[in-house]
Symmetry: C2
């Protein structure tokens, strides 16, 4: 049974992404403090930087490793693909490098849906769609072949799926910092703990891992 | 060396207190879900209800017990004293009962500062002041005789001390719920983790305990 999964970063005050974006800081000036616990894990360093020899191996790494298991298709927004960096270059393949760390079909939500698919090394193929979240999820679920669908971000795409009630498994990594700026992750999500079971756990980095899990239908 | 301490309840989205207040729900309709982990501790049940025979004894209780140790004076807002319930009754002694759980001088910030002090059983005396947060803190520090000063709430009083940079030890109990309404605890507090050391810990109730500790001057 395919589940829809979403991992997000947050501050203590529920801010995620990305005030102060610029060409030098495409994810925003606060991104580093939100993600410090995650990007220092062994899993992240191996998957994204190709370095399996360093990184933390505790609670943060357990969640990071789970992030990569059992995913059959990915959905992301145009900004996360990197479409806005070179919107007029038909040869631009996004900023995930020659071998993106997905290894699955990736559905990029964009108004520029006439772009042809881009097959990449390592099993990733980028597809461009301008449909509703429901329709792109149906297509991704079909493509996932019984594995899970991951909603990758950015935050506006993630929140569209959350607000529509489409996320089965939400994992939030709360960094022990107060940002007081950036998008409000939790807005419009009152009572999420009533439809999903909640767990909380902390890691050596001080990151608080919160999961919301919807019960599968029997 | 007197330290200024503050304990607060929050939701995952940084909301504290108290939307939906009414005579039946003076702390607001969401207060119960914010405080569930705390009010079920053995310490709370003994201190507030006089029942030492029940309650949880884990992480939540350790923080609850620490709350009551080493405090020499308390500061709170008029609403927390209960002044707004019967503002015109000079005999009203607040809603903390005949023997309030403080056992120290309590400085109540109010425009009705002409009220005489109210000595209560158990060592609590309520004093009414309309001074600045700095001035009432100076008086409370003097009264504390080397013990700590606790800022008791409510949230507007607490935030006044936080925004003024007067809190040395902040303890936030984050309940694993999303409220999406109520006062924003963290607003205007960007970078609190830069002036204070942060710890995070979770309890069996799912409550996330976050502490911010300012280093004492050497």
């Amino acid at each position: 049974m395919t589940r829809v999964r979403l991992d997000l970063f947050s501050s203590l005050d529920g801010r995620t992404s990305t005030a102060g974006t610029s060409p030098e800081s495409p994810m925003g000036q606060d991104w580093g403090s939100l993600t410090a616990g995650h990007v220092t894990t062994r899993t992240f360093r191996e998957r994204v930087f190709g370095d399996p020899t360093s990184g933390t191996t505790g609670v943060d790494d357990s969640y990071a490793a789970a992030h990569f298991v059992g995913v059959g298709a990915e959905i992301m927004g145009a900004a996360m693909f990197g479409l806005h960096a070179f919107p007029d270059d038909p040869d631009w393949k996004g900023w995930w490098g020659d071998q993106p760390p997905f290894g699955t079909p990736v559905y990029v939500l964009t108004h520029a849906a006439s772009r042809p698919p881009i097959p990449m090394a390592g099993g990733t193929t980028f597809h461009f769609r301008s449909t509703s979240v429901q329709d792109v999820l149906a297509e991704a679920t079909e493509a996932a072949g019984g594995l899970d669908v991951r909603v990758g971000g950015g935050i506006s795409t993630a929140r569209a799926f959350l607000r529509a009630g489409l996320v089965d498994d939400l994992h939030v990594m709360i960094a022990p910092v107060v940002l007081d700026r950036g998008t409000r992750l939790w807005q419009d999500l009152r009572g999420l703990e009533l439809t999903h079971a909640v767990t909380t756990e902390v890691s050596d980095s001080g990151t608080i891992h919160v999961t919301f899990t919807r019960q599968s239908a029997a």
